[in-house]
Amino acid sequence: MSVMPASLLPEGILFAGALAAAAFTLFKDSRGTRPVSIAAALLAATALLLQASAVASLFSGTVAIGPYQNAFRFIVTFSLFIVLLSFGRDDEGISPELYPLLMLSALGASMMTVSADLILLFISVELTALPAYVAAATARRDADLSLEAAVKYFVTGIAASATLLYGLALLAGAGGTTRYLVSGGALPVNITHQPAGLFALALVFVGLALKAAIAPFHFWSPDTYGGAPYPVAAFLSGAPKLATVAAAIFLLTGPFADAYYHWAPLLWLLSVASMFWGNLAALAQRNGKRMLAYSSVAHIGYMTAALAAAGREAVGPIAYYGLVYAIMTIGAFAALRATLPEGKAGLEGLKGLAARRPWLAMGLAGFALSLTGIPPFAGFLVKLNLMLLVVRHGQPGLAVVMALNAAISAAYYLRLIRLAYVEEGEESVETATAPVGIAVSFVLLLALGVLPGLLTALLPGFALR
């Protein structure tokens, strides 16, 4: 076995890119960090596309790679790429150190999705979290708020890690091994006969719920998103969160598969709570970042609801939803950033946007419509896909809850459009240049909404069912 197996090339590229970006920060003129980071993220995503159907088991089973892993790795690398592309180079709020930090965190998130070993899983979780804690504190304006965001994130993150670690340790003890995914399947832990197994399930469940910010474990995320700089908030709502969802999926449908009737009702309950809590709380927000934080809570709820209803069959549709969710959420953060300066994320600033900057307003409207789930944007199809899956598994009531929540969410997403198009605003509002990432995200959402087969053809792990 070579030192660096080809299947892990994307992670290798991310690591090299992070080192190179870090090296650039040493120079007085650190302008090189951004292009290096963007190139590395794009290369990593491309490398993944080229080996999309690869199946491998590496390092004596420590790493397992399959179509679903590849789908989630693609989400991680691609959402990193979109984040880097969506926030401007001349953005005074971004310190150059941010780039290597985000890349290291994405590397951890990517490793999280391919771990087949509990120890590697935990190390990856920590690699994802540690740079992100620092990144949340890097805002130059409103440094106090940013620091508060970072501390809250750090404290809950540590608590979540500790809970998760205890759960993983018990799982290892109950199963007699740390390898939880073996080639050709998962190692089931017969927890119905072992109280330790049940306890392990509870701890792992809570730890991951905290990391993924599922209600009622989401309390830290509005404060963290609200205080962290825009790119960090956008990144946090994408790669780390979806990697956590992936880890939860692989654990729950892997070693805990036999305990479906233990975790599914609980997950069902938390999903419904997430949808309602996220959407209703988002209605009341007047700050763009906090609103999107609650919106993320609701969207994770849609995904986990499908997992609770359909189990293993939901993985492909959830991955598809995750990718689209990441693109539209990051796009929304970027469109807000280009309108509302850091530290003034009050939505009032959107007034009159359409008259001032029609293209940017169109981008924002597209993201809002996609987040609501209105065609022809991809957000509609992926939501429809999840609802169809849930109905097919005999839970039309859950589909009604999802539709109802989509209707509730329309009220606050539509408010973005109303502010931008209908309300009149004062003339001179400080605005940053609109980065190219917004246009890329908009076009992608439209393309995936009209021709969803494009993605499933490239990456079989994404599925429409």
């Binding site: 029609p358 509609f380 896909n385 609802m387 097919r392 989509a406 329309a410 009220a411 087969g453 069912r465």
Partner: protein, 494 residues
């Protein structure tokens, strides 16, 4: 016409104008209306071709390609007798709307772009033959409509636009659940609107699906008591949008009911027939009485639409061949005469700055064409003989009389009230001595060339179909047959 994607071409033709409109927004605002005019005219020509080649029973111009094959949804377009008239009506009224907003000065490029996006969505709704594709088009109508009302509307435009959006979005969410339910129960064929896989479902499964879909569609019709968004939307909307709203958007609701609830779930339709007839009569009476009480002419016309849609529902669910055919024709006619009414009210408002019936008066004396158009539109709306509306209204009443005499009598009473308020409005607003507002307005122009271009085709068609109703019967009779077979259980009896 085999193999040529006429429908795809027609549906997406309006979108071709968008880049040109975007360019005109930067260069010259005056270009926008011409771009819209050319596009809407080409689309109308295409849809007229569809009418010419698409007569007769069955689906025409079928197009099908794989789209979301994994969930069973296809890109499938086609027209039959039920959708063909509405497809043509959409293209016609879009052109009328372009003429009606010829003098739009506020961001005309944006206005016409949204109008054309709206047309694309509407054409898609009427030609889609896959439930998911239908839903995609249905939802894509919502956003342009919201923006058109919220940006170019009247004083309370934001409230009206949001109310419209929330009502229709909630309705369509229900309908979507109904579609998913059908997919779950009837298998992968359920999304195919040509296959009829849902017709064989047992009654117990048809009822929940019917309720979900019918309520979703009823919001759009609108069926009393889900109608409250309509008067607000109409009053605040600019004239062109009112034309589209009354003329075509309400037809999305009746079309959806006829296509999916009535012919798609016939057993449930039979089960709910008495309830639908009661609701239809309530709609006629409520719409007429509410219209009678209005002093604002535009609000009056809005409530009149609720009554007319009730008449369509009554005829379509009566189980009588004459009434059913007449209801389908009335559905089309209403698109023409309500557009004409809104146009003339819009012209009056633009000139005299009031729509209050009692503040107007004496228009005919000084501006005979302007006043005459309103009176003519009112005469059409109350079913003047020799007009198409006379044929359709009397057809519905006579046809219903045999099986449901009480319903027919109540609906006829509603028509009497309609005649009363329309004649009263004409007498007070148009005839008599010049009122203060009319006198103060001074030298206002008669309808301009583009206003005449918007209204004359409607007048022509209403007379043409009134004198030669056989033209409508040729096109509509296959649709009548399919509706009747759903209700009379001919298919099941064979």
């Amino acid at each position: 016409m085999n193999g040529f994607p006429l429908l795809s071409l027609t549906v997406f033709l309006p979108l071709v104008a968008l880049p040109f409109l975007a360019a005109s927004a930067r260069a010259r605002d005056g270009m926008a209306k011409w771009i819209a005019l050319v596009t809407a005219s080409l689309t109308l020509i295409c849809s007229a071709l569809a009418v010419w080649f698409g007569r007769g029973a069955g689906f025409h111009f079928l197009e099908e390609s794989a789209w979301l094959s994994s969930i069973g949804a296809h890109y499938r377009l086609g027209l039959d007798a039920l959708s063909l008239p509405l497809f043509f009506l959409t293209a016609l009224l879009t052109l009328v709307a372009v003429f009606a907003s010829w003098r739009e000065e506020r961001q005309p490029a944006g206005f016409f772009a949204l109008l054309l996006i709206l047309e694309c969505g509407l054409l898609g709704v009427f030609s889609a033959l896959d439930l998911i594709l239908f839903f995609v088009f249905w939802e894509s109508v919502l956003i342009p409509l919201y923006l058109l009302i919220a940006i170019w509307g009247g004083e309370r435009r934001r409230y009206a636009a949001l109310k419209t959006f929330i009502f229709t979005a909630s309705g369509s969410a229900l309908a979507l659940i109904g579609f998913l339910f059908l997919r779950w129960q009837a298998g992968p064929q359920a999304f195919d609107m040509t296959a009829g896989a849902t017709r064989a479902l047992p009654l117990a499964l048809q009822i929940p699906a019917f309720l979900l879909i019918a309520v979703g569609m009823a919001v759009k019709v609108p069926v009393f008591p889900l109608h409250t968004w309509l008067p607000d939307a109409h009053v605040e909307a600019p004239t062109a949008v009112s034309v589209m709203l009354a003329g075509v958007l309400l037809k999305m609701g009746t079309y959806g009911l006829l296509r999916m609830a009535f012919t798609g779930l016939p057993a449930a339709f039979r089960y709910f027939q008495p309830a639908i007839i009661v609701l239809a009569v309530l709609n006629v009476l409520y719409g007429s009485l509410a219209a009678y009480a209005q002093k604002d002419l535009k609000r009056m016309v809005a409530y009149a639409s609720i009554g007319s849609m009730g008449l369509v529902l009554l005829g379509a669910s009566s189980g009588n061949g004459l009434a059913t055919g007449a209801a389908l024709m009335h559905n089309f006619n209403h698109g023409l005469y309500s557009a004409l009414l809104f146009l003339s009210v819009g012209m009056i408002y633009e000139r005299y700055h009031t729509r209050m019936r009692d503040e107007l008066g004496g228009i005919a004396a000084s501006r005979p064409l302007l006043g005459g158009l309103f009176v003519l539109a009112a005469l059409f709306a109350l079913g003047m003989p020799a007009s198409a509306v006379f044929v359709s209204e009397s057809g519905v009443i006579i046809g219903t009389l045999g099986a449901h005499p009480a319903a027919a009598a109540a609906a006829a009473a509603g028509l009497l009230i309609t005649a009363a308020y329309l004649l009263r409005a004409s007498r007070r607003a148009v005839f008599g001595g010049a009122s203060e507002a009319v006198a103060a307005a001074g030298d206002v122009p008669e309808p301009r060339w583009h206003e005449r271009a918007a209204s004359y085709p409607l007048v022509f068609l209403l007379f043409l179909l009134g004198i030669a109703p056989g033209l409508a019967a040729v096109i509509l009779s296959p649709a009548t047959a399919s509706l009747l077979s759903a209700l009379l259980d001919k298919a099941a009896g064979q």
